[in-house]
């Protein structure tokens, strides 16, 4: 009887000690996987070579560049990245800090080369000035306000983790 009581106490102690740390670990794991997914989505930006990064936007001071870029964005990009560029199933948010703080040359490089294996087409079919106009528009949007944290058990995923540049078929 005594042994049973001691066993019960030990089990209760174990549960009390382990359960919160399990939840914490789950939360940490979830945020780590989210972080990893986000990193993989935007990792293409990091692959831009130095020479491409060093390129300056020649239309930086062009007053019409943003307006022209907006029209181009609506025509070519909104389908995947959403009308407000905050991302959709097929394309990640372009208002993430990774994009907004990236060098214009790096964004231009991604536009030019696409992310072909992950579903983003090559946009070198647009002449270079139009790609720079797109860069001007994208970086004029600024970072989107952070979305409220969802509970770890929720099945909802952030746009970045869901789609990346992948078309989901």
């Amino acid at each position: 009887m005594k042994i049973r009581a001691v066993g019960l106490c030990l089990a209760t102690l174990l549960i009390c000690t382990c359960f919160p740390s399990a939840i914490e670990a789950q939360q940490t794991g979830s945020s780590t996987s989210k972080q990893k997914a986000k990193e993989s989505v935007y990792s293409e930006i990091g692959k831009a070579p130095e020479k491409a990064r060093a390129q300056h936007n020649p239309l930086e001071k062009d007053p019409d560049a943003v307006a022209a870029g907006q029209i181009l964005f609506e025509q070519r990009c909104a389908e995947c990245h959403g009308d407000t560029a905050e991302g959709r199933k097929k394309g990640p948010s372009l208002r993430a800090a990774e994009i907004q703080t990236a060098e214009p040359g790096a964004i231009f490089w991604v536009l030019t080369n696409g992310v072909v294996r992950k579903g983003m087409p090559v946009w070198s079919k647009l002449p270079a000035p139009q790609r720079w106009q797109l860069v001007s528009f994208i970086q004029s949007l600024g970072a989107a306000p952070p979305k409220p944290e969802t509970s770890p058990t929720s099945s909802a995923q952030p746009p970045a983790a869901k789609g990346a540049f992948l078309p989901r078929r």
């Binding site: 029209i71 080369n113 294996r117 087409p121 139009q130 078309p167």
Partner: protein, 295 residues
Amino acid sequence: MFIRKGLILVSVFLLATICFPRTTAAQENPYFVAYDHYLEEPGNLEIEYFSTFGTQRGGNDFHSFWTEFEYGVTAWWTAELYLHGQTTFGDSTIFTGIRWENRFRPLKREHFINPILYVEYEHKSGADKILKEGEGHDVEADLLTPNALARRDLINEMELKLILSSTFKGWNFTENTLAAKDLSNSPWEFGYALGASRPLALKASAKRCTLCPQNFVAGVEMYGGLGDRYHFGLRDTSHYLAPVLGWNLPSGWTLRISPGFGLNDNSHQFLLRWGVSREISGFGSMVGRLFRGRP
């Protein structure tokens, strides 16, 4: 009767474009024969209708036409299905066959020269006159046979192309080399197509417009046969030079026109080609939702 058969392909095109109202602005090259290295955006479907009017020495002029369904399977693979037919004036209008083509982009990134691999299977009758490529020893006189006779000749053909395309300072330069094999006991035949084109303006306008110069792409293409395995070269081959003009409308429609001129006595003296196409965005997702039953 003639008109009815021809109208079937036009109706297929119109029905398909009307049924799918979600469009996206296309940025198409103006070529009719040459291919560049840009594939269809993944999940998008482009529906195209093309016509060719050709003069025929020693026979009746003709009008050939085809409807093309071009789908971006992935960012590195585009598949197309063609249905084609022709009207020979004073003779008849007939359906001449189908073709199934695939283009693959083997390299991940953009390079100075970008290769695309092209594989095609074509099932057609001998009356086919779409002249979508120059190959082997194809010459004008081949198309003199009346439709009733020519259609009895059935051809199953495989065609491979290596497309090498570059974009430099707004210009697109493309070079296509083709090798085609009739799956019956015929030799490999060869051909080429070259193209160069450029938008009339490189910067986009800050205003929404239909007639802006950046919506127009002008260029020229040249194509012809290079003989076959046993008689490689320019002898007994036909060649064409054709200025091309494309107009990409913001509504998702693209219009193209191209007058083509035969460069030697084996070629048709004049070919007038025109086409209309419409790009439907998110077609793959639409079909996916249909089968998954999600709203």
